[in-house]
Symmetry: D2
Subunit: 327 residues, 4 copies
């Protein structure tokens, strides 16, 4: 269709395409409003006409992000259709500044699709992170036993759900013993400012791996809607680190900077844990500083277009998983 | 403790007391800020001293609510500690303008407590409401079979969770096959304006019965924090109805009002479905109007203080339900 | 440009056109996302393909609005560029659930344009509404004296601003004595749910007349973006009234309704102020009920396309009003 | 009064006291809910009893802030009564996640009090910051001429306002030519998370100096409500800096860190502007990095209790400034 609205060809290319995530989930970009130039336009409160060079737009967008001038990025919106396990949905929904319409288990029959982790991502409790999993996977034998358990619980939960639906038990009750691994789906709309916040937290290695998978696909989508903003986000958020008062004191002790560049201060002594403690850094914070100074890869959330599926095909699969096949 | 802050004796009486909801849930009011007089103070942007008569405060509060001047009621906050089944938590969290800290299944072990509906509230799918349950309960035999199913699924899910925890599987994975009936808990803070919105929707008969039970207890708590606001909410929201353009046209056709009162228009003809349709009322809207004109009970969400429990006792029960008993 | 996004021809027709409001203000719709069908799509969490009849979409949208299912209407966004006097901007900004980028008086030079009410809307303090103006205008002689006062203050404030800017006084200080009638401008993005809330309050006769003027133009714009939602809003919000518990008791006393229609109860006595008081209605509420039962016009916020201006022309006017002509 | 709610003695000491800001403004803490321990309680979703050592609470609060776990800090609320010039109010209100009730110029008569900057803070346009003022004050002669201008405009605006009020012109119109320097006032409630965000932006040297003055007093108040959170905010926000991807690359090139401490890499070469550019740092970003590495004072927003005034005295002053003296 013809439109006078701002349009982004790279976003149009994937609009309405469904990208698989995990075993039965997906993310589709179903609509978007605005792009990098609209952020500039809002920041300048400018009239709709006239043209600017991309290099000027890039400079402004990087300046805005570096200095936390986030309101112009609220002027861009992305709308997604997503399917995810309920335990992922429960983490996701904590991001309040967004709009959601979820598939209703009170009104509709649930597709009986469950998330089964694969061996590669089946880890033991992490020893150094109290809420995550170890980076390496658990023994295959343990995994096999767990899969057997999952299959048993899910078969039993599915059987019960089907039977209750046949007996005409209220759907809002029939579903209460479905497991948290059951897939749900929703429409989700969020502006770019809040999407960046979501992605910064949820594409982070400390987030549960399953929600990271969704975040990575959405990051690839926003890269197509607003590439300059995406690049600024990578540089000033994803790959940036906050240095605390004590850490800044350590850096100032060790380094000097001026218009000619930055260099170690002459004759400066090393800062050992005792010296760092005097500056206010705890032992735990020293370990965190060491981590920050490890070299780190720059992530690239480019979408793999070969995985993109048609809405009809995805819909057919979910409908087949609904008890009684045809609703 | 001594405080110069506004204090409400009726709220202090229940502060920190745990009120049971459903079979293993609870609501406790753990803190509050302000009351009816603070709403008036904010509406008047007045200095902190001076006294007003209760009748003046009541008149203002009723005026504000009747005319949708809701911002002063944002000046009162209530903070709750609650435990509820996860399918209830998922409905609850849709109310975004509030603050939440939920018990983390990634970090902590889940108490293995599940919600089991009793026969009285175990209904078939409603025939006239596409998303609810019938008012009368289902046959006892169907209920018994369902209970057997629940017990089987829950025993299996619990066994698997306990075993995975012993095998040191990451908690964030061990919990993914717990059923939606599993209890979770959270701290929840909300201001009075948004609490009224929540309660209007969730104490309503169209909400799932289980969340209504929570809403009714919270309504009883706010009645103690801000009794005049509570009364105005009952009169102008809970027991009020919106009359559409077409319904107003019908009322104007049938009734006349002036300073001397309100009465049927002389010689007015009845409005039959055809006449109502001409005014814009669909058949479905006529049925809704008939419902509105049925006489309705005025609810009273007074708390039953005899059910109030001590924090220690409630905590002990939940801790006992955690695998391995002592964390 | 070509787009796969949902497009509304009636909205495209006015996109980027500037509609004058008051003497120097304007509203332009600069972007939109979604329309009536996207509300349905979100409510059904449906896949992107397939077609529905308009009559079905209309029925669903009216049902959703009548029953306060407002979340699907959050899925539509409108973005405006507006200019308004600062006293209007201060009322407008109270609507928090929106995104704003305002022209900065710290960074940029202010156009010296001031709002001058015309005689027709220059009223005395209302005698029955403590915060509004009387419906009829004030004497012309009083108006003339006021105009003279305005001109004097504005000339002096403008002279001072120009002089300070020439003296290179910081702009953030030079502007502090500009009057509240000075025009500012902003980009403003809001979703349909919150826009309806804004318009319901600000197109209402109790709002200050000047902000009503803006609300009416925006209502005309949304009528083009989502006509079925607009119609439902008129029927279930703008022309609807809430009937309190006591008012419902009065209606139930006087009327009966069933599937055959609605009619006065046989042999029912009139309700005089005493009887109404027994039902809980105060004297003030009786007057409010009388008002509600007066017949009322149905507003039509259709835009007058003949007033639409080009961005370039509007921009030129504002730029001319900036001190030093060329920035 | 007696309360079972958490109470903070240092906050009680100033509760209801009015702290002057600028020439006629003020901030008073009129209520608060919770403190540091309630943040811990919410983070742990713990029952109300039991005691923790302050050192444990401090460690947790610092950990939460360092790692951006901000939701527990939403559990603390502060309520203020403030008076400020309207141009300050317009910056302040941009912080949306808060509750506001402002004195109404439609309903009430405005006190005719205007903000007059003193010479010390009367600066020219900054040469290196496009939206601020130069650090040193403008020439005294320019200031004197400006004061004369202000006095003239304000006298004329006041005369007009008084006259219109006497003529019974609608208040909502009489006030439209009051200058932006006119004082308004409001009740403002915000949770600690959002207050930190507000203060980080508004106590920052890039904010307009006048709003910084308000932010500093509010920072002193929150230091009394939640001292451990305040300390963590100073260390991890106020005195912290974000290091971008390119800056981190520079730091990694120059420094190495391990459990034994942090030190310059052996034999490392200085990074000159060309080298920094290769790492992705623009010339402007190098200047920003130099600024970050300058040593900086740690601010202490301790309140000066000797300035605290009684509500009655402040109220009397404002009432005297209302036209017609007694409302």
């Amino acid at each position: 269709m013809e439109t006078k609205r701002p349009t982004t060809p790279a976003a149009e290319e994937i609009l309405g395409g469904y990208f698989p995530v995990l075993d039965h989930g997906f993310v589709a970009l179903v609509d978007y409003m605005g792009g990098d130039e609209d952020i500039e336009r809002a920041a300048r409160v400018s009239y709709g006409y006239g043209t600017r060079k991309t290099s000027q737009t890039r400079g402004l967008i990087r300046y805005l992000r570096r200095h936390h001038h986030t309101t112009p990025s609220e002027m861009v919106d992305l709308k997604f259709h997503c399917a995810m396990p309920m335990f992922v949905a429960r983490q996701w929904i904590r991001h309040r500044t967004s709009s959601v319409n979820e598939y209703s288990g009170r009104y509709s029959l649930m597709p009986l699709l469950f998330y089964k982790p694969d061996l590669e991502h089946f880890g033991l409790q992490s020893s150094d992170n109290q809420q995550g999993r170890a980076p390496e996977h658990a023994p295959a034998a343990l995994y096999e036993k767990t899969v057997a358990h999952w299959e048993k619980v899910r078969a039993e939960a599915s059987r019960g759900y089907r039977w209750m639906v046949e007996e005409d038990v209220a759907r809002e009750l029939a579903r209460i013993d479905l497991p948290l691994s059951t897939y749900t789906q929703w429409y989700w709309k969020i502006n770019l400012h809040n999407l960046f916040h979501f992605l910064t937290l949820r594409a982070d290695p400390h987030a549960q791996w399953e929600i990271q998978e969704f975040a990575r696909v959405m990051a690839g989508m926003l890269k197509r809607v607003a590439p300059l903003s995406y690049e600024a986000w990578i540089d000033y958020n994803v790959c940036a680190h906050s240095m605390s008062r004590a850490e800044m004191a350590a850096l100032r002790r060790l380094l000097e900077a001026d218009v000619d560049g930055i260099r170690p201060r002459e004759g400066v002594a090393d800062l050992d844990p005792k010296g760092l403690k005097e500056l206010g850094l705890s032992g735990r914070e020293l370990r965190e500083l060491v981590d920050k100074l490890q070299s780190a890869d720059v992530p690239d959330y480019e979408l793999d277009l070969s995985t993109m599926r048609r809405a009809e095909d995805v819909a057919a699969e979910l409908e087949e998983a609904v008890p009684g096949s045809v609703e």
